[in-house]
Assembly symmetry: C2
Homo-oligomer: 430 residues x 2
């Protein structure tokens, strides 16, 4: 709705009514923390059989005892399973402990301190830059900021990153060493990259030999519907183009089994895997292989993982749907309010022009916590102040119903306040 | 035995006989890999109930669901248990995934890249040096070598490191930033530091404010006998002296439950824990907390851990004893062959003057692999070529019997070769 069509007095009255309605809504007394994409309890129950059967698994595999030291790159069966999931070969995979964020941080740290396949350590360069797609995953950006890596913000488009812009950036500037991508069901936009985008990323000319695509395939199996998005296999494209060294792929089972207690994976060319293994040798004797045996026995194979993911989808889908239905009812056709309709992943991306901060603030007053506005942008700067990341996995359906009521009212109030201020120079918050 | 008392011809004959006897021994056709301190299978069986009962544990503790994200520093009950083990407070403890080596590497990396409590990042200093006690743990030295940290070798004495020398080194040189210690049942010497040594380490004057004692308390509960060595609590001493920031303590349950799949721990002052937590935030959402719940439920408390360790000791002790008995029978009173008689831990340290490399080489010919000679020294340089690390945990009792027979013969051959060469300038290996 375009509130500019109303007079100042009309708007003040409307805002007043909305505030009263907001107070009524708050009486439900619910509080919801939707700041992170945490699975809800019902989802965690899906994987309890893995723990219940932990005593029955065979922990010795091909003469290797998973309960003892060794197997720096993970046990064979876990590497095989992950190779199938990632669409690459077994010896292109490292299976580690639970945190894929840790793996990403670690390979960045290796590059900073020791270089990449013989390149100058990034610590010794005057400047190192990464391309950061916006909106994107805040934890990727935090790693850059912490290591002093300059972030170049590039907007996402409907089919993935803006490839014309990216190609022009990486072609000429050899200080650009990386790009963060969540290629399937992007965090938070929900976008899956088109085939063309995957092809261009894998084959584009880069000034830096040690340029790496940080391919965080966090939601590779996380479809909400049976006909999930299909992501082109970057390993196939890069292998054919001779650019496999460029791909640093990651994933984890955090949202397949248990969040933080699953298996994380790094996949890349064999040369990169060998180089990373050389570095890992100084760091650890090996990962938690008991957890790997437990996961391999529970997950079994791709079709069984699909079955498990169907159970997650049954829990998640109604909440995504509820959000979409209520928002559609209120804001359909409204130019000032837009939201994504992802077919998988963990987030909905909401755009509310130039009042995201205020919407998050108002929602918090009613006990609904969203990720701070701006979080999905490098240096936390959303210059349009429009983006809010919604994590539908956290609340129950009832809590979600409340959260969206709160959100809708917060958006209406924030926009009325904005019009009052901008057009009538009236500060309704005073 | 002093082989110099024999003539050249006598020695050639004796060596020839020994070689024949060695061939006879080899006929048992056993091969044993004693390169690392791995627990044997019977020890791994001790902790199987932890896995068998994994389905029965309560994964929600004080409203925190261990199956979900969070708890960067570990779950409360695991931090409590480790605080008891390490002799410090709960908020002085971080409980992480399985590898304490990973924790040690990580805090060194943090110091290199970001500094320590506000100090200049070590990467930016001209020189960084660590004191490395010899013989010591090769993986400690590898971390230094990899990061370009210069190692100052200091010999161990009967009661721990040579404190006069260490005090003089750290007092004047502010580029000396650390010392690696395995204070109880040292790797490989088996020595437990005296109270005086612990006190002097904790209270000595250091030129560098960011000097740290890397207190790798790997064998804190690993007694072979009921009356185990008692290590003075460095937290008590340092707390009293106001030097708690200097202590970076580590441990893991790798040799209590499962090797590589246990819980690792970092313990230090609260300021250090907070600073490390700030760094960890960029690296991970949290550790594998399911494994923490499993461990807390299985290990329960200190007295139950003691019970578990008694089971390990029952398996380990006969092998340590067998080694000592056979070696005593052969080499008692021999000035050229000395070995430690540890009351806990995982290693026996063997000194065979100026022929360690040859002894390891000869043993390998009979299928008995020891850690390469020199491994327990910085840059792999044992200038006396005397030290061999023995890992009695790996072989069965029968294999141990064979391994010591091989070792004894190898020592005799190597020493005869040596005397022939040194005194008679006769190369018996030609």
């Amino acid at each position: 709705m375009d509130y500019a069509q109303f007079s100042q007095n009309e708007l003040i009255k409307m805002l007043d009514n909305e505030r009263k309605a907001f107070k009524q809504v708050q009486k439900r007394g619910i509080s919801v923390d939707m700041t992170r994409g945490r699975p809800e309890s019902a989802q965690l129950a899906v994987s309890m059989p893995m723990l219940e059967n932990a005593g029955t698994y065979n922990y010795v595999e091909d003469g290797v005892d998973a309960r003892n030291y060794g197997q720096l790159l993970g046990i064979k069966s876990a590497r095989e399973l992950y190779a199938n999931l990632m669409g690459c070969k077994e010896d292109e995979v490292i299976v580690a402990d639970g945190s894929s964020l840790d793996l990403m941080y670690t390979v960045v740290q290796f590059a900073m301190q020791f270089g990449v396949l013989g390149s100058t350590p990034w610590n010794k360069l005057k400047k190192v830059k990464f391309i950061c797609l916006t909106p994107g995953y805040d934890r990727h950006f935090s790693i850059c900021e912490h290591f002093g890596i300059e972030m170049i913000a590039v907007r996402m488009r409907a089919d993935g990153p803006d490839m014309n812009l990216i190609e022009s950036i990486v072609r000429d500037d050899d200080s650009v060493k990386g790009i963060w991508c969540v290629p399937k069901y992007s965090n938070p936009s929900g976008i899956t990259y088109s085939d063309k985008v995957v092809e261009r990323l894998a084959t584009m000319k880069t000034a830096a030999d040690d340029f790496r695509i940080f391919w965080d395939n966090a939601y590779l199996a996380h479809d909400l519907y049976d006909d999930g998005d299909r992501l082109k296999n970057i390993f196939d494209v890069a292998r054919k183009a001779g650019t496999l060294d460029r791909v640093y792929a990651f994933s984890s089972t955090s949202k397949i089994t248990f969040a933080g207690s699953g298996l994380a994976c790094f996949a890349s060319s064999q040369s990169n895997v060998e180089a990373i293994a050389h570095e890992l040798f100084f760091k650890t004797i090996g990962p938690n292989k008991i957890n790997q045996v437990m996961h391999v026995n529970f997950l079994k194979n791709l079709s069984h993982i699909k079955e498990i993911m169907r159970k997650h989808a049954e829990i998640l889908r109604p909440k995504f749907k509820l959000f979409d239905e209520k928002m559609t009812q209120e804001f359909e056709g409204d130019n000032y309010v837009n939201w994504s309709k992802p077919r998988g992943g963990y987030f909905i991306s909401l755009d509310v022009k130039t009042c995201a901060k205020r919407v998050v603030e108002l929602s918090a007053e009613a006990g609904v916590k969203f990720t701070p506005a701006g979080s999905s942008f490098p240096y936390h700067i959303d210059d349009l102040d429009e983006n809010i990341r919604i994590a539908p996995s956290v609340p129950t359906l009832d809590e979600m119903d409340y959260a969206v009521d709160v959100l809708i009212s917060a958006i209406k109030q924030a926009r009325m306040e904005l019009v009052l201020k901008k057009i009538y120079h009236f500060d309704a918050r005073a």
